[in-house]
């Protein structure tokens, strides 16, 4: 039994006896999100003010530090590749045959016109090390009983100063989320539409990500295939892969 399931199971047992703390729930959520290696094929439907587009990509992810993504469609985006190594993100454009390091204010730009920024992509998926969590209520989201967690950042080194999470009490998966700036302005929101059990783990396979500062209906993410704990050769996570 993997480490994360020990944590989830122990929390589930604990919850029968006593209410877990916000921080414990957050750790269980982190444990559910992270896996060793995964290969994900996704479909991203970007709904703008005038039209919508579908972008397909294949990502190789190793832990929280390394990821490699190659876009397959639409034709204009096909062949664009992204490589994340730790805190650095490179993008390769076949039209220019150049690899650029995405840094500074470019990190706040939209990924392929979606509601997701490069900063969002770069973010460590683990929340517990960076946020202090408190349970502030309970609610039903998509027929699932959830805790509502209020997260406050522990340091200034994060993209969002605070967050609000709706966490499924049984599956320890985020069903809904709101992300806020230091001023309290809502910046991004996330809603999970579908959850599936994949290789013994609950995974959100269809979700809607919305930049609250933009008009439009948000960006839908649909996981079309997922391979957890996959074998990924090391050379995938090298800059030379970008120009291949």
């Amino acid at each position: 039994m993997s480490k994360h399931w020990v944590l989830v199971l122990s929390l589930s047992l604990n919850s029968l006896a006593a209410e877990p703390t916000g921080q414990q729930i957050l750790k269980a959520v982190d444990a559910n999100i992270t896996s060793d290696n995964k290969i994900i094929a996704t479909k991203m439907i970007v709904r703008g003010r005038r039209s919508s587009r579908t972008i397909e990509s294949l990502s190789y992810i190793a832990g929280t530090e390394k990821s490699y993504t190659e876009f397959a469609s639409p034709p204009r985006e096909a062949g664009t590749k992204m490589l994340k190594l730790g805190e650095q993100l490179w993008i390769y454009s076949p039209q220019t045959d150049r690899t650029l390091l995405i840094s500074g204010h470019m990190l706040r730009q939209s990924v392929m016109g979606s509601d997701l920024s490069y900063e969002d992509m770069m973010e460590d998926p683990q929340l517990a090390p960076f946020y202090a969590a408190d349970i502030v209520g309970e609610a039903i989201v998509a027929d699932r009983s959830c805790w509502i967690l209020a997260l406050a950042s522990k340091s200034q080194d994060v993209a969002y100063s605070s967050r609000k999470l709706w966490v499924d009490k049984e599956r320890f998966i985020i069903m809904q989320e709101e992300r806020f700036a230091r001023s309290g302005v809502a910046l991004k929101s996330l809603q999970v539409r579908q959850v599936q059990r994949q290789q013994g783990r609950w995974v959100a396979t269809h979700l809607v990500f919305k930049d609250q500062l933009l008009a439009g209906e948000g960006t839908e993410f649909i996981i079309t295939s997922l391979q957890l704990n996959a074998e990924i050769p090391d050379h995938i996570f090298t800059k030379s892969m970008l120009r291949k």
Binding site: V46, G48, R49, R50, S51, R53, R76, E77, I91, S93, Q95, T96, R98, T99, L100, L101, M106, Q109, S110, V111, M112, G113, S114
Partner: protein
């Protein structure tokens, strides 16, 4: 009588010289200020029209509303059809795309050597296009040449120096497509330009319109279509008529429907024009008031000096009203001569500043205001006549107030007064 008055003015300098100098100085200031404000207004309007507003601009309602963020997501589509429709209207129509992004220069290994944000203006550089003339591109060229083939761009001289690039080198541009995707393309820098506007020269880039369409995935689309009068002079009434005629054909409720607006309706220029007009009127008003007081005072002093003269003239049978009228006549002469002198002086200085201008670039280094580096005065027909309002009005008002003393003189006391 007129000859008598003129002789008096010529021979008694103390009666005419001071009021004449006051009128000339006041008129000079008014004429100069009118010419200068006119020049500044012309410069701001001209710069805005050339780079941002045209004499009229067609864009979607949403684009007009969010013009500050220049989002091409709200661009005009079906451009060909729109241009065809506009052809029947008597203006030069030129589609443009404005967008921002990053310019990246690679080193020999393909890694980033230098990088900086840019603002791009994409215009048609076809031989039939009048954009060269509108933007004054040839004269703005500092080195290199104008784009002739696809994939060629001009960058500002300041940006070229900051990036340490020269014409002939390759640059990678990173922008955002009409759909919001990141877009990257390589372009050849073929020339460096200096547009003479600090706010634009910091990071301006100019590219061929069709290149921008391809780069930003804007097939048959443009951010805006600018319209210029064929003589390149803004005619407000004509522009308003064309805009009204165009807008009648479109649904005002559809945020993506095209809408035409005139130059003053954009970038708060109407407010600025009104403010400048108000400022001119207030300046003239203040000078009329101030000069009237000074001339009133001068008239009072003059009347004291000419106490005996008026007394004798009354004793000889001249009526008070006639003396008052001659006093007003004298002031009209002084006003007219002073106004002509002041206007000539004001026009000379305005003409000098119209030709030479004043370079304000050192004051604009940190400014974001789009204004030419060299501000020039502008002489218009109004500059020739504006000085006559304060020049004649102030002298007449001054004389009218100071001359009232004549009516207080009592004929019965004249002999006693004259003995003194």
């Amino acid at each position: 009588m007129i000859q008598f008055l003129l002789k008096g003015l010529r021979r008694d300098r103390s009666r005419s010289l001071f009021p004449l100098l006051v009128v000339a100085a006041g008129v000079f200031i008014v004429v100069f200020m009118q010419g200068w404000i006119n020049g500044a207004e012309n410069s701001i309007l001209g710069t805005n029209a050339t780079f941002f507003t045209g004499h009229v601009k067609v864009a979607t309602q949403a684009y007009h509303k969010e013009s500050a963020i220049m989002t091409n997501e709200l661009a005009l589509t079906e451009l060909g059809h729109l241009l065809q429709q506009l052809e029947s209207m008597p203006m030069i129509w030129t589609p443009r795309i404005r967008f921002g992004g990053l310019i990246d220069i690679a080193d020999h290994a393909g890694e980033t050597r230098s990088q900086t944000p840019f603002m791009c203006l994409a215009v048609s550089m076809a031989p039939t296009s009048r954009e060269h003339q509108i933007l004054n591109l040839q004269q703005s060229l500092v080195r290199g040449r104008l784009p002739e083939a696809p994939g060629e761009i001009l960058i500002s001289e300041i940006m070229a120096n900051n990036l340490q690039v020269k014409p002939g080198e390759m640059a990678t541009l990173i922008g955002t497509t009409m759909n919001g995707s990141m877009s990257m393309r390589n372009f050849h820098i073929v020339g460096a330009i200096n547009l003479g506007i600090v706010a634009l020269d910091r990071n301006m880039l100019i590219m061929e319109f069709r290149d921008a369409q391809e780069f930003l995935d804007m097939e048959d689309a443009a951010g805006e279509i600018l319209g210029f009068s064929p003589d390149l002079i803004f005619h407000e009434e004509k522009a308003r008529l064309i805009a009204d005629q165009f807008n009648q054909g479109y649904d005002g409720a559809d945020e993506f429907a095209p809408r035409m607006v005139t130059l003053p309706e954009q970038n708060d220029l109407e407010t600025m024009i009104k403010m400048m007009g108000l400022f001119s009127s207030v300046a003239v008003g203040i000078f009329v008031f101030a000069m009237s007081i000074v001339l009133w005072n001068a008239g009072l002093i003059g009347s004291l000096r000419r106490y005996n003269e008026f007394g004798i003239r009354m004793a000889l049978g001249e009526s008070k009203g006639h003396i008052y009228a001659t006093l007003l006549c004298e002031s009209a002469f002084i006003g007219a001569v002073g106004t002509i002198l002041g206007t000539l002086l004001g026009l000379s200085v305005c003409y000098y500043l119209q030709v030479k201008g004043i370079d304000i670039s050192s004051m604009m280094r940190q400014s974001g205001v789009v204004m030419a580096n060299v501000i020039r005065a502008k002489i218009t027909p109004a500059t020739f006549v504006i000085g006559f309002i304060p020049g004649l009005a102030a002298t007449q008002l001054g004389a009218m107030f100071s001359g009232l003393g004549i009516f207080r003189r009592q004929t019965s006391e004249l002999m006693k007064e004259l003995e003194v």
